[in-house]
């Protein structure tokens, strides 16, 4: 057993840290640190910085313009990025669609779409969930019917994250209504500017319009936008979901969140002492930290297995479960740490308009909203109940 990172990985970490120090604009990291929303332009700005360095798509092979990093390197990059309060790399094009096109897409599709993901010309969003197809994703009802060289798409997608910024959407559509649930589904790329598409924002309980409903009314989609074979979409969808689960543990986010929580707890005074010295609070904080230390090692153990060529299976469900529990516990304790100032709910502060500063510590404005917004962690990407089912079935054979 040798739990230390290899000299190469340590050198890589130093290189990432130096890059972030040199190239991450303070105005972006400040917004990320205070959990303020980034604009579309700010997200694109950071993507461009990473792309210039060749680091935007760490998970892509070099032949497609990626960095070709190992799983360990990707983990190091994610962790250092979170610790430096760098904006996250949007997963939709890079982590989700890219690998699907590389494995199942045609040469034409790869040449057409992959460079545009890297250079920021396209902003992709995910058209998976529907009002009647959440945890039961295979029950999607949006239809695509062949008409000459086009499909005609009708139906509705929902929970489309940042769909308001997107110009393309990858969708699961039903192409064979007579087949068994999983067998009649296809994977279709749809131009969001096509006639017949309507995007309606859904405001979440933290007040942000982060997700959307997307309606399709007789939308014509060229058949060349079908990925792989017709009615084989479920295979591609599952492949995509396994990639969605890389970094599912969110160790970097949790580590950064814990550091932020400690800053708040040192600054807050309770009964004449820093809150972090309050025994009850300190115990809560310590329990989370101990959990995070163990979970980070579970994550590395699984990454090491992946590096040794083993495909991560249902173990990633345990990472999702524990990882989201820890992040939500950090959100809860941060809410607790800002005390009565968690009561304030100023929308302006979250957008970074500081002329109407809310009361309390600077982290207070975002603490409640982050707590509310991150309730999604245990719901999306396969709810934690679905993960428990996978663990019971796949790992225990129950």
């Amino acid at each position: 057993m040798d739990m230390s990172f290899s000299p190469d990985d340590q050198a890589f970490r130093a290189e990432v840290r130096q890059f972030l120090q040199d190239r991450l604009p303070a105005r972006l990291s400040e917004k990320v640190r205070l959990q303020q929303e980034l604009t579309k332009a700010e997200i694109e700005e950071w993507h461009a910085v990473l792309n210039e360095k060749g680091w935007l798509a760490g998970n892509w092979p070099r032949e497609f313009g990626g960095a070709g990093w190992t799983a360990i390197q990707r983990h190091i990059f994610d962790e250092e990025s979170a610790l430096a309060s760098a904006p996250r790399v949007l997963p939709f094009g890079i982590a989700m669609l890219g690998p699907v096109l590389q494995k199942f897409g045609s040469k034409e599709q790869q040449d057409r779409f992959l460079p545009r993901i890297l250079n920021g010309q396209d902003w992709w969003c995910q058209g998976y969930s529907e009002p009647g197809a959440g945890s039961d994703l295979a029950s999607v009802k949006t239809t695509a019917v062949r008409d000459g060289d086009d499909y005609i798409v009708n139906g509705q997608k929902t929970w489309t994250t940042l769909g308001q910024h997107a110009n393309w959407i990858f969708c699961l559509v039903r192409t064979d209504p007579t087949a068994k649930a999983q067998e009649g589904i296809s994977f279709l790329l749809i131009d969001m500017t096509s006639p017949g598409i309507t995007v309606r924002p859904i405001v979440l309980l933290d007040g942000t319009p982060e997700v959307n409903e997307v309606f399709f009314d007789d939308v014509r989609v060229p058949t060349e936008n079908l990925v792989g074979e017709e009615n084989k979409g479920w295979t591609y969808a599952k492949y995509l979901l396994t990639h969605e689960r890389t970094n599912i543990a969110g160790v970097g986010f949790a580590t950064a969140g814990l550091a932020a929580l400690k800053r708040v707890a040192r600054a807050q005074q309770a009964q004449g002492k820093p809150l972090i010295e309050n025994p009850l609070f300190a115990a809560r904080l310590a329990e989370i930290e101990i959990d995070l230390m163990a979970m980070a090692t579970t994550n590395l153990r699984m990454l090491a297995q992946a590096a040794a060529g083993q495909v991560p299976g249902a173990e990633s469900s345990m990472l999702k479960l524990k990882g989201t529990q820890i992040r939500q516990a950090i959100n809860d304790l941060t809410r607790r740490a800002v005390g009565p100032w968690a009561l304030a709910f100023p929308s302006e502060a979250l957008e970074g308009a500081n002329d109407d500063l809310p009361p309390g510590p600077p982290e207070a404005a975002a603490a409640t909203r982050a707590y509310l917004n991150n309730r999604k962690l245990s719901i999306y990407g396969g709810s934690n109940e679905i993960q428990r089912g996978i663990i019971a079935k796949s790992l225990l054979g129950l």
Partner: protein, 332 residues
């Protein structure tokens, strides 16, 4: 032994619920006498006991109603009445006057330390998180030497308002040589503050009951994998746990309502607020989770209930703060 309500209390609860269902505003609630039901007969009302407060606020919580009844009446009129300011207390209870109570100060968390001070008949200092300050006709300000009354628009009075999680508004308040009148010692706060904590807990209880009811209904109608998700045993057990915790919360609220005017009040305040804060968070988190995505949306009626439950924990000391107070009170 009787854990029930009087006929009058039950009737008031029912008509209050109907009024709220029709979208009744603060004026409609005043007309109904909701404010007077929160005041004792000596103070010109027709209620004011623990069970009266429980009935009114549990009903408000179920409807996620935003009203001035907590801050202006239970706390404001309660203090005024204790201070012998009968006319203003009655005006507040009937809705003619609006009282905002300025207790907290910046950086003080739940400690309640005060540095706002009086020189002659003038106050200077900063108060934080004052609910309803922008709409108030009068402010009650806690200063180092007791409680003071300040009129809205008084010289040197500054307000900086912002929205609150539960849908109301509060303000940061600055006082610079602001004319004020002393109305009594800080000890006058004891009973009104305990009553306000009961009100917050009863309100949270109502919100929990409603949230659990919504979730139960949703589990019966939402279908995935070809059947209602409520037929999955994993979710059934979660609902059973929820219901059991809400039952605990209900009894804790009853405990405080029944001991609001007994010698054991402080211990019950700490026990009830601690338990309610803990269960409120649990109910908010579980009811959102059991709904899935729809539970995250602003347009679904769970959203204001969940935020209300969070707010309940942060108001007047959170569950940890009251856990420590309970330990201290039990040791004494």
């Amino acid at each position: 032994m009787d854990f029930g309500f009087t006929d009058e209390q039950t009737m008031l609860g029912e008509s209050l619920a109907r009024t709220l269902e029709r979208g009744g505003d603060a004026a409609a609630l005043s007309e109904l006498g909701a404010g007077l039901a929160l005041m004792t007969e000596e103070a010109g009302g027709f209620g004011g006991s623990g069970p009266d407060i429980l009935m009114v606020f549990r009903t408000l919580g179920r409807a996620a109603a935003v009203t001035p009844l907590l801050d202006s009446v239970v706390l404001g009129a309660g203090i005024l009445s204790a201070a012998g300011e009968a006319d203003l207390a009655e005006a507040a209870a009937s809705g003619e006057a609006r009282i905002a109570v300025a207790l907290e100060e910046p950086g003080q968390r739940y400690d309640g330390k005060v540095s706002t001070r009086a020189e002659g008949e003038r106050l200077s200092g900063e108060k934080s998180l004052v609910p309803g300050a922008e709409d108030a006709t009068h402010l009650i300000v806690r200063a180092t030497d007791g409680l003071w009354l300040v009129e809205a628009g008084a010289e040197g009075l500054g307000l900086r308002g912002y929205a609150l999680m539960d849908g109301g508004r509060a303000a940061e308040v600055t006082l610079m040589d602001t004319p004020a009148r002393r109305i009594g010692d800080a000890a006058l706060l004891d009973r009104p503050l305990a009553a306000a904590i009961l009100a917050v807990c009863a309100d949270a209880l109502g919100a929990m009951e409603k949230a659990v009811q919504l979730t139960t209904d949703y589990l019966k109608t939402r279908k995935q994998f070809g059947r209602p998700i409520g037929s999955f045993q994993a979710l059934q057990h979660r609902m059973a746990d929820l219901l059991t915790e809400v039952e605990q919360a209900r009894s804790a609220v009853w405990n405080l309502a029944g001991n609001l005017d007994t010698a054991d009040r402080d211990r019950h305040v700490a026990a009830t607020k601690s338990l309610l804060g803990r269960v409120a968070l649990y109910v908010a988190e579980e009811t959102i989770q059991l709904h899935g995505g729809i539970g995250m949306t602003e347009e679904y009626e769970l959203a204001p209930l969940a935020r209300r439950l969070l707010a309940a924990d942060a108001r007047f000391g959170d569950s940890d703060h009251h856990l420590e107070r309970f330990i201290a009170a039990s040791a004494a």
